[in-house]
Amino acid sequence: MKLFLKKLWVRRSLSLLFLALVWEWLSRRGTIDPFYAPPPSEVLRVIVSLFSEGRILTHLEATFTAAVAGLVIGLALGIVFGFAAALIPLVAELLEPVMMLLNAIPRVILAPLFVIWLGIELPSKIALAVVLVAVLIFFAVYNGIKDVNQLLVDRVRTLGGGRMVLLREVYIPSVTAWVLGSLKVAVGFAFTGACVGEFVAATRGLGYLLQFAQSTYNAALTLGLIFLIMAFVMLLFAGAESVERRLLRWRYRGSNAKAG
């Protein structure tokens, strides 16, 4: 039992379960108004009905497509522009002010503009997710290259390595660590972009459904959707972490006994 309780995920699950039970009890005895905070059992019933009736699937598909497409395109653009800016001074001159400006503002305020430009369907949601992710990754790559260990660059150069070898042996692995470090945040940003885009104007998607639940004062549906989005983001977090551990095995592999 003690060994079981030592596991982090067990302690976290038990803590969440405890909170849910307290909430259920307080809601049932009327201490908290079920209209505003329905008990977890009611929220669970709404989530189950959303799946059993199949109503949620089209919304899930829309949000997932926007988030994943935004994540992939955002990663690609962030990496390409980050490398270009770090290696070509002219590109840095052109891109850095724009990126700094985009980084300084809450980028979700661009959502209405994307709706005007791209309409209320999928492209405007993807565009918002792309902007959120690309700026984050741009700075991860840009700073990753700028902060590359100069000793490693000198080492490879003294071994006879040219520009391509440096890129392959030093810059790309070094930047990979930075990008993977930001991957979990990027996953969250991609979902934020997709949901906020749907919140502003859409015909389907979890954000659209959330807007509908809020406008009809349906707290159970609102909470159910919030928990659903949390669950999916956690699932993608786990995927991102597994990718990080696989690609950065040199960092994570436990150290064996070191001899003198």
């Binding site: 000793l151 490693l152 000198d154 080492r155 490879v156 150069r157 003294t158 071994l159 006879g160 390595g161 070898v165 042996e169 030093v170 692995p173 950065l248 040199w250 960092r251 592999r253 150290s255 064996n256 070191k258 001899a259 003198g260």
Partner: protein, 252 residues
């Protein structure tokens, strides 16, 4: 093997190094010592091509590939295993992956790291990482070794062992060596010639000392050779003439 003539380094009006001349004849061990900030490491970086001199000449008998550079930090790629790090230089020189890796394994075995080839640098001790760094250079069979305080970060026991192993290897293979160090005893123990740099800026070679202790040398026994102590005393005197004598009064 290596001749440096009238070398000037630095970007400001007042150069760090101003008119340095030194020579490393074939098969000789030469050390460069001097006060902190006198530009010892910069001279080595200029020889390897990592630093562009403001003036002067660096003449290498052979191309840049015939020299190997051992850094103060081990500077191993953290995402490559020990054997991949050792094989890197061979891979850059277009050796096939399998032959580069088997050559790397052979060198790791030679340096006492059998079975450690699959480990990443963070899984090795400081001494083991330094051995990997040495293997990374020696696998390329350089004729000239350039070393910038390679063992400074190691404890005294590991440092003495590695110095002896490297010295034996250099003597057996008749390699030429230029060692930059702040340790005067170490310089005299291993070298045929020791150059003393003056205090910077505008550092120059103040003096050259010939060390005529016979080879092969033992790093501990060499310090008991009759000519060692007088040479060391002279070197310290000249060093203090540059930086000032040690303070007699306790520090406040």
């Amino acid at each position: 093997m290596l001749r440096v003539s009238d070398l000037v380094l630095g970007y400001d009006e007042e150069p760090v190094v101003d008119g340095v001349d030194l020579e490393v004849p074939g098969g000789k061990f030469v050390s460069l010592v001097g006060p902190s900030g006198s530009g010892k490491s910069s001279i080595l970086r200029a020889i390897t091509g990592l630093l562009t001199p403001r003036a002067g000449r660096v003449e290498l008998n052979g191309d840049q590939e015939s020299s190997g550079f051992l850094f103060q930090d081990d500077a191993l790629l953290p995402w490559r295993t020990a054997r991949e790090n050792v094989a890197l230089g061979l891979r850059i020189r277009k050796a096939s992956k399998s032959s580069a890796l088997s050559e790397a394994d052979a060198w790791l075995n030679r340096l006492g790291l059998e079975g450690f080839g699959g480990r990443f640098p963070h899984e090795l001790s400081g001494g083991q990482r330094k051995r990997v760094a040495i293997a990374q250079v020696l696998v390329l069979k350089p004729k000239l070794l350039l070393m910038d305080e390679p063992f400074a970060s190691l404890d005294a026991i590991v440092r003495t062992r590695l110095t002896q192993e490297l010295l034996t290897w250099v003597e057996e293979e008749h390699l030429s060596v230029l060692l930059v160090t702040h340790d005067l005893e170490e310089a005299l123990t291993v070298s045929d010639t020791v150059y003393l740099l003056s205090q910077g800026p505008r550092a120059r070679i103040r003096n050259a000392y010939a060390v005529s202790i016979p080879r092969p040398r033992d790093v501990l026994a060499t310090r008991r050779h009759p000519s060692f102590a007088p040479l060391l005393e002279q070197l310290w005197k000249d060093m203090f003439a540059e930086v000032g004598p040690p303070q007699q009064a306790p520090l406040k």
